[in-house]
Symmetry: C2
Subunit: 229 residues, 2 copies
């Protein structure tokens, strides 16, 4: 492989880790803001999202430049395509963190709901999935990526419990409806972050093993079905 | 350009139109099922989603094959990359159609909520956005793509109105909470389909003009802000 291609791929990997850490950081701040009612942290997430957006556009341009100028093949081609997709998914995680932060801002100005929700537990699971999927990407670790994929069900279950509990609360006390529906929304954003971490993990497996594993299991899992119970 | 590359690109375009029409069809069926309480249509959407997933994987493999074997440049490279991204977005639209169909199945078994919601109007807007974005892709029409992008605000507004109306209903009559929260969820899935149509339109502008226009305006629009009102 020509030296300058190697250099550009190394640089791309570095940039991808930068956006990854920006997005992880935004997610963590948004969740802390929600759980600890820290409005100033949530506002930071909202204000800094444009940096993630700018970074995403730059990384995408970088990927396209490498494809056009170096026409990489095999594992290098797979890496660039994976970078393109992961970059896109990370930007979406950033948007979801902003949504959670907006919920946190609203909730921090209202009286706290007196009910026990395991938001910290669910947030912890999702942050682990995101962080492991990015570690798997950094170290070409398909085994770790597959582990992330297995973690998604637990998050779906946590979201399902949250929905049930919040609906119960709304029924018991209609004055909580607005606050509870903001929490419902935050829970569903969190579940979507877990889905995107799963996407990233699937892309890592593809990059390392050259095999598309998407949809292998998901068609057997009727994720939303439990919600109907 | 070598003839076999041209043939493969034509074929890729054709395949992309096939998945596009599968996804449009699923979306339309899910919305009809929701509005007209037609459970059997909704069940079709759920059962047929695996076909969209399979098609997505095949199209992605096709894109990667073209990149690896033909190393296209300029507009051809941009087309393949756009196909890769649009394919991914379409599959996500398919998933959202499944979610809406699941809401429709649940709601069709319960008494209808006695309130006026403009679901048909919102659904119509979103279907137009999806269909225009795909027309723009087929005809390399950046002007039409830009028009799709301007339509997104109206959908956000419609979703916002829906949320307000449903919350009001839940407060007035707590026995409607479960049904109303399923409708809330359907409305938010619909709004996400509009976002994905916007993504597709932005990718078409990029393909035709070589310019990334993502995030140009969205940082000025605080989409979720109205929800806090």
């Amino acid at each position: 492989m020509p030296k300058h291609l190697q250099r550009e791929l190394d640089n791309l990997k570095k940039e991808l880790l930068v956006i990854a850490s920006m997005v992880e950081n935004a997610t963590q701040k948004a969740l802390t803001a929600l759980v600890d009612r820290r409005q100033e942290l949530a506002e930071e997430v909202v204000q800094e999202d444009f940096l993630i957006n700018e970074k995403e556009v730059r990384i995408e341009e970088e990927c396209l430049k490498i494809l056009a100028l170096h026409q990489p093949v095999a594992i290098d081609l797979r890496f660039v395509i994976t970078a393109l997709k992961v970059n896109n998914d990370l930007e979406r995680v950033g948007d979801l963190a902003v949504n959670i932060a907006e919920r946190a801002i609203f909730l921090s100005t209202r009286e706290m709901l007196a009910l026990t929700l395991d938001f910290p537990g669910m947030a912890d699971k999702v942050q682990k999935m995101l962080s492991y999927s990015l570690d798997a990407l950094t170290h070409n670790d398909a085994k770790l990526a597959r582990q992330v994929i297995t973690m998604d069900d637990a998050v779906d279950l946590a979201n399902h419990k949250m929905i049930k509990e919040l609906r119960r609360q709304m029924q018991k006390n209609p004055s909580t409806i607005k606050r509870a529906s903001h929490l419902l929304s935050a829970s569903s954003q969190l579940e979507r972050i877990a889905d995107l971490a799963t996407n990233i993990a699937e892309d890592v497996v593809y990059m390392v093993e050259g095999e598309v594993i998407r949809h292998r299991t998901e068609d057997f899992i009727k994720r939303e079905e439990e919600e109907e119970d």
